[in-house]
Symmetry: C2
Subunit: 416 residues, 2 copies
């Protein structure tokens, strides 16, 4: 394995700094804004929500990624999503980017000035509420002075909403010429999580040198089997955004074609994205466990993914997981309505967790298994159901969580 | 209006009898089997689940409706779904039908014998468990002796699972030659409710005389805007079934083409189906309210339906309804990921219930509305959100319910 897990999150790669601060956007007594800054302009790639209702920062960042393709900083706020805010919401993005560019240029007067059209802006939180312009500009100013090469964790904490845990991943990997490169990321996401095109908010940084168009393609492909395989509640957000910045400071020969280095880079990108995706599922609103569906021997990888995602999205299955009940009929049922054809009388189901492995269905009907053992397996923090379709050689995974009283409490009692 | 609401449910139409009994299939101390019987063979139509995993009775009834097109009795059990039970499950259906035909022929020896291939069989309950043959045959025998012309309500009670209320609807209507006809129905459904092709279990009877092929077509069209517009939890069942029996005993000239009488019949069928669909949504597992989405000024009726269904299916919106929170951002978000294009900056949202009418969003952004008034409106037992898309003249409705602690309790704590 060419990948070594390291610390650092979004500041693991060379050239990147980050920080979090209290800006009082909506939350009080906690950090709620973060900034990622790179000392050089980076190749920037991004994917965004497929929701017809797109938040202002999604429209703003899509323009930068598509038309500029470069970025040097990302400003993020939690608490207010800046969605359904009309023209005024878009102007908040513009003014935030202008403030960031001005102050970063002033603070780092020894370097080339930061261009306002190379600052990305992201928001997460309540839909419809306006972001106070004075507070977000003041927060941006503070952050520009605070970014540090070891600030990744601080930034990861500041972007949380109903998340209960920071979510970071980072790896070192070696390119074909022996260059050591780094890639790391952070994300947030707990409710309104059923990404389509991308996850809630996810930020990846790398020092590998890679062409912007290849970076975009690598990202676009990878989200299909990572973030797009996560569901907490079936609701695709208005703000889903995944951004990748590549600084090139590792010093490798720039990746410009789909060669061995591209493959190595994609492998590293996938490791970060899959790690973050799993963490997001495990920290779903109210969740007590990570629930993975692993579909094997499907006819195509796309079908395997659709089947796996249907299982982890089923409310009834998720409620059964919460009850540690091996209600396999609900799993078979969810496979059945996924929209993919298969022979139900061939399907095998097996439960796997740290507590053991238990075949529960063989050829579509129940095995004589022990309910006690099943409950024991389902009581672990991470549970996988293996669905053997016996059709071909393709496989796919998806990640979700259980459906709990706390999910209802979080979303029924409070305007989150 | 040509429709008059009457009592009677599935026994409102001439020729039909029904009964419920305690058969001890799985539940104890309550009725759990029902029978509908008609003194003459009826034209029989049906629609069934689109789930790839189809319960044995679905496969069995589909054969009868498609290949025979006539039926004289329906035997229904609650508690065990007879799904994922393989060949043995199908044999249970055959033996139940044989038993029903034999005993009904014996009890009604003055009439022509009931043919075993004119007995439909339906099941609802836990997936995967086998139905005890002796109990279902004994129950069938009891029911054949118990059916009465006023037994509709008794039957409606016996088919309940986690339902908290019987669901019946019936109407009298007048055909063009002055003939008085009747149509009535009952259904059950509370969890695993996200019908696709049809609802959980729904049974309609009418004395109107109508060709089987027209009856099938009328049903197939009508479920699109009734049962297929209901969602409790997004899970499409393995057992969804809707059956219609038409005895012809009203004495009208048989409806054989799409004339005025066909239109009148379709109107009556729709009234029964919509009434039952709404009752099913209102009695969703754990529900405290009926939540209706009414999409107006959409470009097409199909799009209106897709948008409406997306809103009532959103877990986040459903949780907000439970909290009586006018979290309109979640409603706009759910419209946005429905898969239909529209301009989010044109959408108006209005809340309506017995407590009043309140515009909350105008052209995609919040109105200055009173949160107190919104909470008052959302505290009623039936709430509608009107979504004005300002695109065209089409409209559509869908029905759901709130997402509550009790939904999680019902589905997490017990194998239901």
């Amino acid at each position: 394995m060419n990948l070594t897990k390291i610390d650092g999150g979004v500041t693991a790669a060379a050239g990147f700094e980050a920080a979090g601060c209290e800006a009082g956007i909506k939350y009080q007594g906690r950090t709620d804004m973060a900034m990622i800054y790179c000392r050089v302009p980076c190749a920037a790639a991004g994917t965004f929500t497929s929701n017809v209702v797109k938040a202002a920062p999604v429209l703003y960042d899509r323009h930068i990624v598509t038309d500029i393709g470069k970025a040097q900083a990302i400003v993020i706020n939690a608490g207010i999503a800046n969605a359904c805010t009309g023209r005024a919401g878009y102007e908040i993005c513009e003014k935030t980017a202008e403030a960031a560019a001005a102050i970063l240029s002033e603070v780092h007067a020894d370097r080339a000035p930061v261009s306002a059209d190379q600052v990305l802006v992201c928001s997460t939180g309540v839909i419809g509420m306006p972001i106070p312009l004075d507070r977000i500009v003041a927060g941006t100013g503070k952050l520009a002075r605070l970014t540090r090469a070891d600030g990744g964790s601080e930034a990861a904490a500041a972007i949380m909403t109903t998340d209960t845990k920071k979510k970071e991943e980072s790896f070192r990997f070696v390119l074909s010429d022996g260059t050591e490169a780094h890639i790391g990321g952070m994300c947030k996401g707990s409710g309104m999580i059923h990404p389509n095109m991308c996850t809630m908010l996810s930020f990846i940084t790398t020092d590998a040198a890679i062409d912007q168009s290849l970076l975009q393609e690598a990202l676009r492909e990878d989200i299909k089997t990572t973030y797009n395989r996560v569901s907490v509640d079936g609701d695709t957000s208005t703000n889903d955004t995944c951004l990748v910045l590549a600084s090139g400071l590792a010093g490798n020969k720039t990746i410009t074609e789909k060669d061995e280095d591209y493959r190595l880079f994609c492998e590293a990108l996938h490791a970060v994205n899959e790690g973050l995706a799993r963490k997001m599922a495990a920290d779903g609103e109210g969740a007590t466990m990570l629930f993975e569906a692993h579909v094997i021997h499907a006819d195509t990888a796309a079908h395997a993914g659709i089947l796996a995602r249907s299982v982890i999205s089923s409310n009834l299955t998720k409620a059964a997981m919460y009850g540690h009940d091996a209600n396999w009929g609900r799993i078979l049922c969810a496979l059945g309505y996924a929209g993919v054809d298969f022979d139900p009388e061939k399907v095998d189901l097996t439960l796997v967790s740290a507590a053991g492995t238990l075949p529960i269905v063989k050829d579509g009907v129940a095995e004589a298994y022990s309910e006690e053992k099943a409950t024991l397996i389902l009581s672990e923090a991470e549970v996988t159901v293996i669905c053997d379709m016996k059709m071909g050689d393709a496989e796919g995974r998806a990640w979700g969580c259980d459906l709990t009283y706390d999910y209802v409490k979080i979303n029924g009692d409070y305007r989150s």
